[in-house]
């Protein structure tokens, strides 16, 4: 179909405009202007890389036993090679196990947050958009769920349903949506009254169309910022649960389980506890940095206030 030529402009005018930059260029340019953004990207990128190619670069096997090398402090080496961060109660290399554990953190962080985000955004969108009694009822449910601390809820549910990596991801996903629902609903209430929404109705668009085409794109940036925060919360939750023995079980290697092992031998082998905790802290710090940067990037108003 031929379009009308109303908006056509002369090439001379176009040449005076600043060059059009793609979204990717704009995002990377903004990212590299911010030290926090660079630090966050570097850390998160490194952890993702470890999760992807970990087994190829890992110095030892993460699950194999070597009882002759039990409880060796950092820097120990034998015929099998060096154990830079020491070994655990079964002679397994701490460094290799930290590398292997990154997989679980990455997997749990990403998949649970995707599940929670999808449920929460839909819930908040529907609640805020429909308003009235539906909104009241839906938000009371959210209030009730928020009144039980996230970790307590997850601990109780995994106790009932049982442990395991898949189950844990599902539980974290199905309980973590509540925060999104609350935030998105608030945003929808603001956007719902905007002129462009009224205009969309005026040109005859129906309600589902307005909700998906005009409201959703304008509230999604809050969900993205929240998702970054939730990745951090979820990684911490996974490590807490595995530490308590209610999350992922051996032989899967996770940082939380390594800490549980470490606690059992805390009197003699501090390195078993120290290094996995550093891995968690650095990873979460990277995610938090990236989230902070993302918040500033998506909402310049917040930067002005900080």
């Amino acid at each position: 179909m031929e379009t009308m030529e109303v908006g056509k402009v002369s090439p001379e005018y176009v040449s005076t405009l600043p060059p059009q930059r793609s979204l990717f260029t704009r995002v990377t340019a903004a990212l590299f202007r911010s030290p926090i953004g660079v630090a966050g990207t570097a850390i998160v990128g490194f952890v993702l890389l470890l999760a992807l190619i970990g087994p190829q670069i890992s110095p030892h096997e993460a699950v194999g036993h070597n009882l002759r090398a039990r409880f060796q402090p950092p820097g120990y080496s034998d015929s099998a090679g060096a154990y830079v961060l020491g070994t655990d109660q079964l002679g397994r290399d701490i460094l290799s196990r930290i590398i292997a554990g990154s997989r679980v953190s990455v997997l749990v962080g990403i998949v649970s947050v995707l599940i929670a985000g999808t449920i929460g955004v839909t819930y908040g969108l529907v609640s805020g958009f429909l308003g009235g009694y539906v909104d009241t009822v839906l938000m009371r449910i959210v209030d009730a769920l928020l009144s039980i601390p996230f970790i307590v809820l997850v601990v109780a549910i995994s106790g009932v349903v049982g442990a395991g990596l898949g189950t844990l991801i599902l539980i974290l996903g199905c309980t973590g949506w509540v925060t999104y629902a609350r935030v998105i609903r608030g945003e929808v209430l603001k956007v719902r009254e905007m002129e462009y929404v009224v205009a969309a109705y005026a040109v005859g668009q129906n309600r589902p169309m307005v909700m998906l085409r005009h409201i959703l794109p304008n509230v999604i940036s809050s969900a993205i910022v929240l998702a970054a925060v939730q990745v951090a919360v979820t990684i911490l939750a996974e490590s807490s649960l595995s530490f308590l023995g209610l999350g992922v079980k051996t032989p899967t290697v996770t940082w939380g389980l390594m800490l549980a092992d470490g606690k059992a031998y805390i009197n003699s082998a501090w390195w078993m506890t120290f290094y996995p905790g550093i891995a968690i802290t650095v990873t979460v710090l990277g995610v938090v940095f990236l989230g902070d940067w993302l918040r500033d990037f998506l909402d310049p108003n917040i930067r002005a206030r900080a």
Binding site: A156, V160, K263, I266, T281, L285
Partner: protein
């Protein structure tokens, strides 16, 4: 004020009703609650006997009606591990949890408020930079890992603090420090940004232009107003504190509600888990109502709303 109380009581009842539904449904997530409770060695006959004893053979709606009627009176059934009413088991641990939460909050506020105020007053100074860095670190660090590190330093190497239990008064130092530091990290940045916002307000400028002393302006005019958002977030952080206590109490074997939850889940003592969830929820809501009432004291604008 009366309207405020009536609304809040109504909200409390509705929320607790939904919580009771959640708690009731939770133990049925796998379909049959008996499958959680029965030891694997039970045969079919014993399972049926247990089912009848617990009333799980009745229609679900009737079960819920019975559960709700009893829950209203605080009766969550018998803990089959301790052979005591579940509510008694939970209440016996509450004191320890409250004590820990109170000391941890106190530590958190004592660190966060001065640090947040000073970094706002000396914005972009070395102190500001250091406190932001420490706050980020404190937020990212798993609280229970900080606890384990404290154990390594103070119990294993220095041997000056007990690593578990609540047998002597100094046993509370490490668990409360663990939780308090995490809380301080979360609160100090917020205090800083609330202070910054208030310091730019007209009334602060007026106070300064009247020639009032800097200290007087900060404490009397700025801090009071900056406290409002800090109190809000403090209320939300209590949720984090209650949640964090589950793991931290387990690290230090502190005999509080959090540890009881983990122990009860491990032995499948579902009535205690239910009663515990109920208490977590109730205390969180009540603390937040108390904070709401506190706002009305410090901020006259809210009294009208």
């Amino acid at each position: 004020m009366r309207e405020f109380i009536v609304t809040r009581i109504f909200q409390l009842v509705v929320t607790m009703f939904i919580v009771s539904l959640l708690v009731f449904l939770m133990v049925r997530l796998r379909g049959d609650p008996i499958s959680i409770m029965a030891p694997p060695i039970f045969n079919q006959e014993q399972i049926e006997a247990l089912r009848a004893a617990w009333g799980f053979d009745k229609p679900v709606l009737e079960q819920y009606a019975i559960f709700l009627r009893k829950a209203v009176t605080g009766d969550f059934g018998i803990s089959f591990f301790q052979r005591l009413p579940a509510m008694e088991v939970v209440i016996a641990r509450l004191g320890n949890s409250w004590l820990l939460a109170a000391v941890a909050s106190l530590i958190g506020l004592t660190i966060a408020l001065p640090l947040g105020i000073l970094s706002a007053l000396k914005r972009n100074s070395l102190l500001d930079f250091a406190s932001t860095a420490l706050a980020s670190l404190g937020t990212a660090m798993p609280s229970f890992w900080l606890g384990l590190m404290l154990i390594i330093v103070f119990s294993v190497y220095l041997r000056i603090l007990p690593s578990f239990g609540a047998l002597e008064p100094k046993a509370i130092i490490m668990p409360s420090l663990t939780l308090g530091v995490g809380m301080a990290a979360r609160l100090s940045r917020l205090t800083r940004s609330a202070m910054l916002e208030v310091l730019n307000q007209d009334y602060v400028r007026t106070a300064r232009s009247k020639g009032l002393q800097g200290k007087h302006v900060v404490l009397r005019h700025a801090l009071r107003n900056a406290l409002i958002p800090v109190v809000t977030v403090f209320g939300l952080q209590l949720g984090w504190l209650l949640g964090g206590s589950v793991v931290v109490e387990s690290v230090f074997a502190w005999p509080g509600l959090g540890r009881l939850m983990v122990e009860s889940i491990n032995v499948r003592d579902i009535t205690v888990v239910q009663a515990g969830l109920f208490w977590f929820s109730l205390s969180f809501i009540l603390i937040n109502y108390a904070l709401d009432a506190f706002y009305m004291l410090i901020d006259p604008r809210i009294r009208i709303g």
